[in-house]
């Protein structure tokens, strides 16, 4: 059985929504960030970069959200098959979500890892403007490729979880993202929230009653977001 190494409201949340949405059984293992368990030798042996999530499979551990999604999609038929004419669209938006949208959002959340203190304000302004352009591209993609960007499916979940975080973080900066500006993504958020697995996951990770349409800061029953 799969083992998902997770921390609440971390990127492991994306994998959880896809696994539960498809009814794929798995066990969870909490990575306790309060004692920096992601830096422990046992976790680093699974994922040398120390990032969350890691999914343990019969073929060994997989790290990186996008890699896990692609592997699950191919193993369980959650996306277009390799020879499908829809495959180019699936792959290009998956990588865009990972290396542009998610990567830039990470810079916005953890600016001190990327930027000197005196440039934090400029960094927040420039990166949030760039991120809004990414959301505009995702809005068009979600509108024109509704099957790929369906709730519970890899691209739909990935996009909608990014909108949740964009609405909440960074805590200390002014709010810069408004889901209502992106109607197709807002509809996707509503559809994901209406699925049966969503309130269960929201309770498990402390995400509140409306994790996508009216996100609030998490209050997880176990583990820590940071």
């Amino acid at each position: 059985m799969y083992k998902l190494h997770y921390a609440p409201d971390n990127a492991s949340l994306i994998i959880r929504f896809v696994l539960d949405g498809a009814g794929i059984p798995y066990r969870t293992v909490l990575v306790d960030r309060t004692c920096r368990q992601q830096d422990s030798p046992s976790y680093r042996a699974l994922n040398p970069t120390g990032l969350i999530p890691t999914l343990e499979t019969s073929h060994g551990p997989i790290s990186e959200t996008g890699a896990i999604l692609l592997w699950l999609a191919d193993t369980h038929g959650l996306g277009p098959a390799p020879a499908s004419p829809e495959r180019p669209g699936f792959l290009k938006w998956l990588f865009f979500l990972s290396n542009s949208a998610h990567a830039d959002l990470r810079q916005i959340f953890y600016p001190r890892q990327y930027c000197p203190a005196e440039a934090l304000v400029a960094h927040q302004e420039i990166m949030s403007a760039r991120m809004l352009q990414h959301f505009a591209l995702l809005e068009v993609a979600a509108e024109t490729l509704p099957v790929l960007f369906a709730p519970a499916r890899p691209l739909g979940v990935y996009a909608v979880v990014l909108t949740r975080w964009a609405a909440l973080y960074p805590v200390e900066a002014p709010r810069w993202f408004n889901l209502a500006d992106f109607p197709a993504l807002a509809a996707l958020a509503g559809a994901q929230e209406a699925r049966v697995e969503t309130p269960v996951i929201a309770r498990t990770e402390g995400l509140g009653p409306h994790p996508f349409t009216a996100p609030e800061h998490p209050n997880p029953p176990e583990g820590s977001v940071l």
Binding site: G60, I62, G66, L70, E86, K92, N99, A103, C115, P116
Partner: protein, 223 residues
């Protein structure tokens, strides 16, 4: 089938040209010109709404994103990376994604340090990006010394080519020599890239794209 690569030599599209040459598949080059506004042309935005290269025209429509194109080509023609049924695919995908979403943006931050926070912070941004790249290269070095994955050899060359081009840029494009990346502390990674840059396909692309005789390990970009 007709494949069309939107290309500028020594841009990220060279990574895809390397893959196409390794596969021995016929393809056309659509030369792109930044100064002529090709990237903003409405016809190109239909190919890639991001306005970036590489993009590859295929019978199933256009595909973009370097790693996405590599995976699509590998599924069609095989030999660039582990196939769908290979157990090693799990590890390969993890590291391909890491190169795509971590190493690639870090190298771009070294080359364009003014972009994320403005020109005043550029020097410090470049320094932080170089520190990050050295940490990432250390992860790759450990990976190669402990696991010697087949998907970082000439037998499955796509990820090595991708790294080779990125580290080439990091080694020679930053203006300040003190802010350039060096392979010297990473002998295993150096050995992988040295083997890959001598493959017949890599030599052909070094010629066509003017990358010099040792494009990955000792890039000879004219300054």
């Amino acid at each position: 089938m007709t494949l069309t690569l939107y290309h500028i030599p020594d841009w990220a599209s060279s990574i895809i040209r390397l893959a196409l040459e390794e596969l021995g598949q016929p393809y056309q080059i659509k030369p792109m010109d930044w100064d002529a506004g090709d990237f903003d042309a409405p016809a190109f935005r239909l190919v890639n709404p991001l306005g970036l290269i590489p993009a590859l025209g295929t019978p199933d429509g256009p595909i973009f994103e370097t790693a996405a194109i590599i995976l699509w080509l590998n599924a069609r023609y095989e030999g660039l990376a582990p196939g769908l049924q290979e157990p090693e695919r799990a590890a390969f995908l993890s590291w391909l994604m890491f190169v795509s979403n971590t190493v690639h943006p870090t190298v771009m931050a070294m080359i364009h340090p003014d972009r994320p926070a403005g020109p005043a912070a550029a020097d410090q941004m470049a320094r932080m990006a170089l520190d990050s790249l050295n940490e990432q290269a250390a992860h790759l070095e450990t990976l190669i010394t402990t696991r010697a994955p087949r998907w970082l050899t000439t037998a499955q060359p796509a990820l090595g080519h991708y790294l080779g081009i990125l580290l080439r840029w990091a080694a020679c494009l930053p203006q300040d020599p003190a802010l350039r990346f060096s392979l010297a502390p990473f002998p295993a990674l150096h050995a992988v890239l040295a083997a890959q840059e001598q493959s017949p396909a890599a030599c052909r692309v070094a010629q066509t794209d003017d990358l010099g005789p040792t494009p990955f390990t000792s890039p000879g970009i004219s300054e």
